[in-house]
């Protein structure tokens, strides 16, 4: 299987795969550092091919693009949680902390392998507290190419969800919801290779992942692509 997937490296670099094979190759890539290196050279080569056919764009196009951008909201940075303001500030160190934990737990390469562990900051230990809590329960589920790893600690009243391999979306986003007594509450937008920390989860029975228009929705507008029981 690995050999077969690896033979897709040329077509992948040239953009000649359909979506399914592209996803399959990308998950192969996660597990194959030497492929990533070879691919880097190939992609840099295709960039040259692209530059070689450059054409001066008409001035009106520039104006139109800048005007459109001025009216287009930008995506927020990856992790959003129930208390976004306090959390977002701590995000980089949260990820770093989690990366260290994941590495220490012997499952290095999972989810955050690309994130560089920069510095560990003790103040950002929310994720660590969940992952190392004595009552932490981890469940893993596989959904096509995607895998989700949910770690829940009752004593911390929090959970950490790690997602990888989600198929890429165009103009849409994944959004996580908590379901409590039939009430659905947003727990934030989910990017691939993302790590979400959600606290105040007492009473939450279920997590659901849906596909929403870019920027997310107030309420789910589609059926979940995945659900997880707590």
């Amino acid at each position: 299987m690995t050999v077969d997937l690896h033979s897709l490296i040329g077509p992948y670099a040239l953009g000649a795969l359909d979506e399914d094979e592209r996803d399959a190759f990308e998950s192969h890539l996660d597990a194959c550092p030497t492929c990533a290196e070879e691919l880097g050279g190939f992609v840099a080569t295709t960039v040259r091919l692209g530059e070689a056919v450059a054409e001066e764009p008409p001035a009106a196009l520039r104006a139109s693009i800048l005007a459109a951008a001025a009216q287009t909201p930008q995506e927020r940075p990856t992790v959003v949680a129930m208390r976004p303001r306090s959390l977002r500030k701590r995000l980089p160190s949260l990820i770093a902390a989690a990366a260290m934990i994941v590495a220490a737990a012997g499952v290095a390469g999972y989810v955050i392998e690309h994130q560089q562990v920069q510095e560990y900051q003790a103040e950002s230990s929310n994720v660590e507290q969940v992952m190392t809590a004595s009552d932490a329960v981890t469940t893993e589920s596989q959904l096509g190419s995607a895998s989700m790893r949910l770690t829940h600690s009752r004593s911390q009243d929090a959970l950490v969800l790690a997602v990888s391999g989600l198929p890429a979306l165009d103009n849409e986003t994944y959004q996580l919801w908590t379901v409590r007594d039939g009430v659905t509450t947003s727990a934030g937008l989910v990017d691939d290779s993302d790590l979400l920390y959600v606290d105040q989860v007492d009473g939450v029975e279920q997590l659901a992942l849906t596909v929403e228009p870019a920027g997310g929705s107030e309420r789910p507008t589609s059926l979940p692509v995945a659900t997880m029981q707590l």
């Binding site: 033979s7 897709l8 490296i9 040329g10 077509p11 670099a13 040239l14 953009g15 000649a16 795969l17 359909d18 290196e37 070879e38 880097g40 050279g41 190939f42 992609v43 840099a44 080569t45 295709t46 960039v47 040259r48 091919l49 692209g50 530059e51 070689a52 056919v53 450059a54 054409e55 001066e56 764009p57 008409p58 196009l61 520039r62 139109s64 693009i65 800048l66 459109a68 951008a69 001025a70 287009t72 909201p73 930008q74 995506e75 927020r76 940075p77 990856t78 690309h114 560089q116 165009d170 990017d191 870019a214």
Partner: protein, 201 residues
Amino acid sequence: MATSPASRPGDSRPLSAVDSDPAPDLDDLLVRTARGDDQAFAALYDALGASVLGLARRLVRNPARAEEVTQEVFLQVWRTATRFDPDRGRAKTWVLVLAHRRAVDAIRHDQAASDREDAYEWVGSDHDVVSEEVIVNLEHQQVRRCMDGLTELQREAVNLAYYGGYTYPEVAELLDANLATVKTRMRDGLIRLRDCMGVAA
């Protein structure tokens, strides 16, 4: 890959007083774009717009459609700039890979091979009127020369995939070759091009 991007005709400097480097650091521009810096975004467009448009034009053929694709690409860059991680790759690569994907999606969306032929004819007859000129640059000549160094099958496979937007099974069909051969030729072709262009792996 060169560490500093070549400047192009039409480059305009971001109005940042701090940055005195004559060639804009595209990675930095994209990082600033993620923070909502519209001047950084404009500078990024000035640096990469010609490549994106040229590639889109090559793929979708129809000039108006190529401009649409270019606009979509840059709006996606604007919207999703937060996803760019300079530790994992270069801004130029990020944008051009995105551009290629968008243009191929547009082709598949618009579909029907006959439409593409029609559009191509139309470009041909309209081309003199349109004032955009192909930027003849060093890269272009180098790519030409390196392409000449490929075997015919390698060259066709690379061309049809990258500039034609065909999937490798479609390329196999067009070249009347089997899938395994086409995959191998694409890889071999890229290895030769990479080495010929002196692209660092």
